[in-house]
């Protein structure tokens, strides 16, 4: 269906090719997963399939890419639209129309399908992706996950034979991600559509894949069997980590397979003593954040209502809940980005009301890293950004640069912030916010687009900060990150608090929010591979 024949891509002015001599043949009806660290050339590989590279991006492509017999060198992306659909990383910028239903119909309209056929396919697609209740909604008012589903639906409706997706589930809550993947699974199995997708959250997708391609530094492997690929890959989901630890072969990819093999490991861990009593971080008095009877209204709609919450100084709390549950709004209200309609917000040791003080003082008590970290970045270079941040927060000259160095693995200071990878951009924004040394640090969906390495580093940074006395509240869908760093998990639904408790308890009790290791090891409540490894080490 798709063939790559010695394909290399070099962008204009780039010192090295982004793709290097890739030869691949993807058969029809397969679900192929492209795996690789950030900046490895995954996105470039995906975008060569419909010809956006090089027709749209510029650069030089040598070799040949053919899709369904059409050479992308001779067919422009718009002519390939009937064959290939491409869902981009950030769906909100790709919408052409303004209402869900029109967006779904758009592709078919450009193809000149018959109106009755359009009508039928629109209805089918809306049902398939669960968008029927949202059909009349303006796209701008949808939550991130709903937007992602609308974008995939719009592409799928046009009936392409190949669907290419760049990180389709990274913005979604676990349940919504499962829904999207289930519908992808269905269109692969029932309708024979070929799907190529790149995703960092392997724990969500790898067991759906028929084949895996590993990409690193522009080099790609051939099509591999998923289990074999996971054995070789540098990045792998927790279940594979557990399998490597326990030496299972062949590598299980799904929870079900892993559970079948895990009984021996479980027995061993029972004997190993019961260290599953969490060694909770020593946590201070519950005064770092106090919300009482909070109500937040946005655009005439009550998003948060009757919310009471207190956080202990130096604790790490994750705020979870499905897309559109009000997580971002809550963080925004705490950081005084949105007005509070009713109730009380008090922050820090001296009980500051963030809505009553000037921004200059507010940054001392609360810092928020927004969902789009680039909103915080204005300067031309990373170095200049650090210097302005020092000035903004009245910090010692060089303080931000030092922080950045500690947080990140080393970012080239002459780069433009917008040219950084998603993970590096987050690290820069985090360094900027930390320059104000806020007592309470809020992070909104920080793991979007981060690979396992960057995520692990973020986890370490957050733990170190909490130990130094910063109170952290982070909204995330990423249960694995929550398992790694959180003391406490708060689950929000429809603007109300539904669950609140120690991380281990909440995460292991909820089917949607349980991390992979917990699912494999139940009824024992291990959260991470590292914990299990430590326990085995102790028992040995």
């Amino acid at each position: 269906m798709i063939t790559f024949d010695h394909v290399s891509v070099t962008y204009a002015g780039a010192p090295a090719p982004s793709l290097h001599d890739v030869t691949l043949e993807i058969p029809e009806g397969e679900l192929v997963l492209v795996v690789g660290p950030t900046g490895s050339g995954k996105s470039t590989l995906l975008r060569t399939i419909n010809g956006l590279v090089p027709h749209f991006s510029g650069g030089t492509l040598s070799g040949r890419v053919t899709v369904d017999g059409l050479d992308t060198a001779r067919h422009r992306p718009r002519d390939l639209a009937t064959v290939v659909g491409l869902v981009e990383q950030n769906p909100s910028v790709t919408f052409v129309t303004d209402v869900v239903e029109d967006e779904v119909a758009y592709g078919m309209e450009t193809m000149g399908l018959d109106p009755t056929a359009i009508r039928r396919r629109v209805e089918e697609t809306l049902d398939l992706f669960g968008l029927t209740p949202l059909r009349g909604r303006p796209l701008g008012t949808l939550s991130g996950g709903q937007q992602q589903r609308a974008a995939i639906a719009a592409l799928f409706a046009a009936g392409p034979r190949v669907l290419v997706l760049d990180e389709p589930t990274s913005a979604l809550d676990p349940v919504a991600a499962e829904e999207v993947l289930a519908s992808l699974h269905r269109i692969v199995h029932d309708l024979g559509v070929t799907v190529v997708l790149a995703e960092h959250r392997l724990e969500r997708v790898v067991h759906h894949a028929d084949r895996v391609v590993l990409v690193d530094g522009g080099h790609s492997s051939e099509l591999l069997d998923p289990a074999e690929a996971m054995l070789r890959s540098q990045i792998y989901p927790p279940v594979v980590g557990l399998s490597r630890l326990a030496g299972w072969a062949p590598t299980p990819l799904s929870i079900r397979d892993a559970r079948r093999r895990a009984s021996a490991l479980r027995e061993r861990l029972v004997e190993a003593s019961s260290p599953s009593v969490p060694e909770l971080r020593v946590v201070g008095p519950a005064t770092a954040l106090e919300l009482s009877d909070l109500r937040v209204v946005r655009a005439g709609r009550i998003v948060i209502d009757e919310l009471d919450l207190t956080l202990a100084t130096g604790s790490v709390t994750t705020l979870m809940g499905r897309n559109g549950a009000g997580k971002s709004t809550l963080l925004g209200a705490i950081a005084a980005q949105h007005p509070v309609a009713r109730g009380r917000v008090r922050l820090g040791a001296s009980s500051v009301d963030p809505h009553a003080v000037a921004p200059r003082e507010r940054v001392r008590v609360v810092g928020l890293v927004p969902q789009q970290p680039e909103l915080l970045l204005y300067a031309e270079t990373v170095a200049a950004e650090c210097v302005t941040a020092d000035a903004d927060f009245g910090a010692q000259p060089g303080a931000t640069a030092t922080l950045l160095h500690r947080i990140s693995g080393g970012i080239d200071p002459t780069q433009h912030p917008r040219d950084l990878s998603e993970g590096q951009r987050l690290e820069l924004a985090l360094a900027v916010i930390l320059a104000g040394s806020p007592e309470v640090l809020l992070l909104d969906e920080p793991t979007r687009g981060l690979d396992y390495g960057a995520k692990h580093r973020l986890g370490e940074v957050l733990s170190a900060l909490a130990e130094a006395g910063t109170t952290i509240l982070l909204a995330t869908h990423d249960v694995e990150l929550a398992a790694e760093v959180a003391d406490r998990v708060v689950i929000l639904a429809d603007g109300e608090l539904v669950t609140d408790g120690p991380a281990r308890e909440v995460l292991s009790a909820s089917p949607a929010f349980a991390p992979q290791v917990t699912k494999v090891m139940l009824p024992q409540t291990w959260l991470t591979v590292a914990e299990v490894a430590e326990a085995i080490g102790r028992s040995a």
């Binding site: 956006l52 027709h55 749209f56 718009r78 390939l80 639209a81 290939v84 659909g85 981009e88 950030n90 910028v93 790709t94 919408f95 052409v96 129309t97 303004d98 209402v99 239903e101 119909a105 758009y106 078919m108 309209e109 450009t110 193809m111 000149g112 399908l113 018959d114 109106p115 359009i118 009508r119 949202l134 059909r135 009349g136 909604r137 303006p138 701008g140 592409l155 046009a158 709609r301 005084a336 980005q337 000037a358 921004p359 200059r360 507010r362 940054v363 810092g367 928020l368 927004p370 789009q372 680039e374 909103l375 915080l376 204005y378 941040a389 903004d392 927060f393 900027v432 916010i433 104000g436």
Partner: protein, 358 residues
């Protein structure tokens, strides 16, 4: 009367709005103009599309500003209308010889003020009609009915219409992000600092959108040669220009109605020709086109009647159509009042708009 809730065909609302605007542009009678504004408010309150913002109030505010501006300018500079009733006298500022045509200060008469108010009110009424049409059927929905040959032009306009509000949203997001870095986010220097990130975001968005449109088949030719497309597009553009010119001629009395009607007719004919040429060769299809049924006809007629009555009235110079700026209300021609009130009928005789989805 039980009608299934649906949105009325956007063209019907725009015909209604343009008809009422034509009527309003032909009179300076303040009572008639206020009636027109009232009719707009009533119809919008009853039948506006809940999925989009209501721009009517914005239009009315602009109208109020226009009236206030004209009144202030009249007080300061006069407007050439001389009257008997001097309200008060401003000290006159002597101007040099070469500016003798301009007067600054001096007596302010009731008549000149009334003239300014009536004239401003006329503009406000026209704006109210356009605002009402906007609120009842967003121009984007109307654009979907562009001839098939102009499909891509229509999409480009829709994208453009989306761009400006998004710029505002971006600016707001960047501004509130500024407060996260301890800045107030207000003031001239702050605004200048917002420009770069906002433009960067807008630029990235445009590139993303362009890539997405490209990969979704925007601009591809569907079973038509490029020559046919050019012919049809040319005809359609010239036709639309003709229609616009004709409408202008009809609306603006000074351009002469004589030119207006024929131009409108020729333009409409050309546009129709392009539709035929385009449709026969290009099979661009649309999803869920609203159909034209009797409520649409009622609505369009309700707009056409006042336009017709007032054009006839102004040509035959009925008393009270052009209000003389003198103290006391001008006479009210009954047929005119009846015709304007008739324009409010669509507030009840049309189906309710779709429910708001939440």
């Amino acid at each position: 009367m039980q009608l299934r809730p649906r949105l009325l065909h956007p063209a019907a609302w725009w015909l209604w709005g343009l008809g009422l605007a034509t009527a309003a542009s032909r009179t300076t009678n303040p009572v008639v103009l206020l009636l027109v504004i009232g009719v707009c408010i009533v119809v919008v309150t009853e039948r506006r599309d809940p999925a989009t913002a209501n721009p009517l109030w914005g239009f009315l505010v602009i109208g109020a500003v226009i009236i206030a501006f004209r009144v202030v300018m009249t007080i300061l500079l006069g407007n050439g209308v001389h009257g008997e009733t001097v309200l008060f006298t401003l000290p006159r500022v002597p101007l040099p010889e070469w500016a003798s045509g301009i007067r600054l200060g001096g007596p302010v008469t009731l008549e000149s003020l009334l003239y300014a108010v009536y004239d401003g009110l006329r503009l406000t009424a026209v704006l109210a009609c356009l605002g009402a049409a906007n609120a009842l059927a967003s121009p984007r929905r109307l654009l979907r009915y562009l001839p098939a040959t102009l499909y891509d032009v229509g999409t480009a306009v829709v994208v453009g219409l989306t761009f400006a509000p998004q710029l505002v949203t971006d600016a707001r997001a960047v501004r509130s992000a500024r407060t996260l870095r301890g800045h107030q986010g207000t003031g001239v220097r702050e605004t200048a600092r917002l420009a770069v990130p906002v433009l960067e975001t807008a630029f990235e968005r445009s590139l993303g959108l362009a890539a997405s449109m490209e990969s979704r088949g925007y601009g591809r030719t569907v079973r038509a040669s490029s020559r046919d497309r050019r012919l049809a597009s040319g005809l359609a553009l010239v036709g639309l220009l003709g229609v616009l010119g004709g409408l202008y001629g009809l609306l603006d009395a000074s351009a002469g109605g004589a030119l207006g009607l024929p131009l409108l007719a020729v333009g409409a004919a050309l546009a129709a020709a392009s539709l035929v040429v385009g449709a026969s060769r290009e099979r661009r299809s649309g999803h869920r086109r609203d159909r034209w049924r009797w409520p649409e006809t009622v609505t369009a007629t309700a707009g056409a009647v006042p336009a017709f009555v007032l054009v006839v009235g102004s040509v035959q110079s009925w008393e009270g159509i052009i209000a003389t700026p003198s103290p006391g209300l001008p006479p009210l021609p009954l047929p005119v009042v009846a015709a304007v009130l008739l324009a409010a009928v669509p507030a009840w005789l049309t189906p309710r708009p779709r429910e708001e989805h939440r």
